[in-house]
Symmetry: C2
Amino acid sequence: MSIAVTILGSSSAKPTADRHPSAQAVNVNEQYYLVDAGEGVQQRLIRAGINPLKLRGVFISHLHGDHVYGLLPLLSTLGLYGKRTPLPIYAPRPFGEILEAHLRYFDTALPYEPQWHEVDTTANRIIFENDSLEVWSLPLRHRVPTSGYLFREKEPALNVSKYAIERYGLSIAQIVAAKRGEAITTADGEVVENSRITYRPYRPVSYAYCSDTNYSARLASMVEGVDLLYHEATYAADERRTARDRGHSTTVDAANVALKAGAGRLIIGHFSTRYKDLEPLLQQSREVFAATDLAIEGQTFTVTGQRHDKI
Amino acid sequence: MSIAVTILGSSSAKPTADRHPSAQAVNVNEQYYLVDAGEGVQQRLIRAGINPLKLRGVFISHLHGDHVYGLLPLLSTLGLYGKRTPLPIYAPRPFGEILEAHLRYFDTALPYEPQWHEVDTTANRIIFENDSLEVWSLPLRHRVPTSGYLFREKEPALNVSKYAIERYGLSIAQIVAAKRGEAITTADGEVVENSRITYRPYRPVSYAYCSDTNYSARLASMVEGVDLLYHEATYAADERRTARDRGHSTTVDAANVALKAGAGRLIIGHFSTRYKDLEPLLQQSREVFAATDLAIEGQTFTVTGQRHDKI
């Protein structure tokens, strides 16, 4: 029904006085997921009004410190908060070893289990799902194994319209059949196609997090039609070579991915500390893809699937 | 000549929206030292206007995460800044193993050497010195091996007063002898005692950092006469039992150490998240030791030895 992305950090490797390293809270129908966990993320969550105990899972793109240094302190604090339920953590290898070393030195007695799930950064596949959500891994092109993440709401179950129930006098058995997608036959022997009596209550929405990465046309096809795309733009357009050499993207690279993917909206972030004023970066992206915004810390970007209450 | 302590973090284990975990920058005659390094310390340094490259050494009290989680990201960032000179780090065991694991997973190629020096948390001894400064370890009483740190300026060398040089017509050789503390004999055969012609250009000052710890009368005697004392006060006076059980102190414990030590001034900090309003904590300490202040983040407390330019 909706996905809301709160920017907790928008800086690249070196923090600035105002910008923190990468982290986002992704709220899918009031279930929160943390995507990347740069230093200070636990305090960024608190400041954003998000109780860290509400996190249902953590997704780490890669094991450069600016994307993960905040996770271990957060795991400790969740212990102090008295968390009891396991916390799934999706991250590339060797996160398991890092976690083990951390627990050995700092938290021998956490009251809950941080559960590491290895992410294959070469595969584009579903790595997490529940009744209403799928999360896909997105192979990225960075200096170390890196995965983006695509959050995609599942197609909601069919509803049967109240109007159709009354008009055709549908029985419980007929309603159940219609929800399965079947046509029904009325008392008069009329066959009514399923599409005339059912509807999807909302359009599922999607969000893709793509950081850190070089420009990748393949990535654009993996996120085709995404409603909201976060794509790193570490550098301005004139630093194309630096971006390419360091496994990063420019503002124009990010916009080109959004354009090629047919994305609804684009957020750019992971800005190099060299850029004090971000407005020129925004303008560069907007020239290629107008619906671009800057990842400003504390801001929340929401995409909502239209409700279809009637047909 | 002066010691200036900038509070970078004043919270206990769990951070709040406004308070960061323990960290301080200690400036001794424009040489900076970091004392404890809670999460986010590199950004706190930047916000305080202190270039992290200026740090001459790091002193870690103990290996609870809220005192050390910010150090490893700082070490990484110093590498990105291009630091070349070694950084001495004083910390209890097993910091060496933690550092080694960190370098293995995150920074295989730092351009400088983080040099760990093991601190014996049972000994009260000099662990660092240069021409003008000594740093002493202070055994503390916490749940894990913990050391406080006493920064003590050395007694400055004797100066010979210009007045005496003129009055007695002192030769270079006599001035050198006077600087060594010797009496001199004038051309008239008069013996002039050293104390009549020399002076110390300033009074050396001292600062002690004591966190985390139970109340300790022994600690008070180890910091006797200290000019500025930071003593943890995790809990209010009415939580004496909780403080004792958890290896912490109350506001009154901290004030009693300052009183017993004959300290010049006291700063209390490491506040539990339960205290939103810190004013009552301040009043409790002040009832016992009037010259108490709260550790407010971003504030700098300076103690200066009086200059003696003339005698």
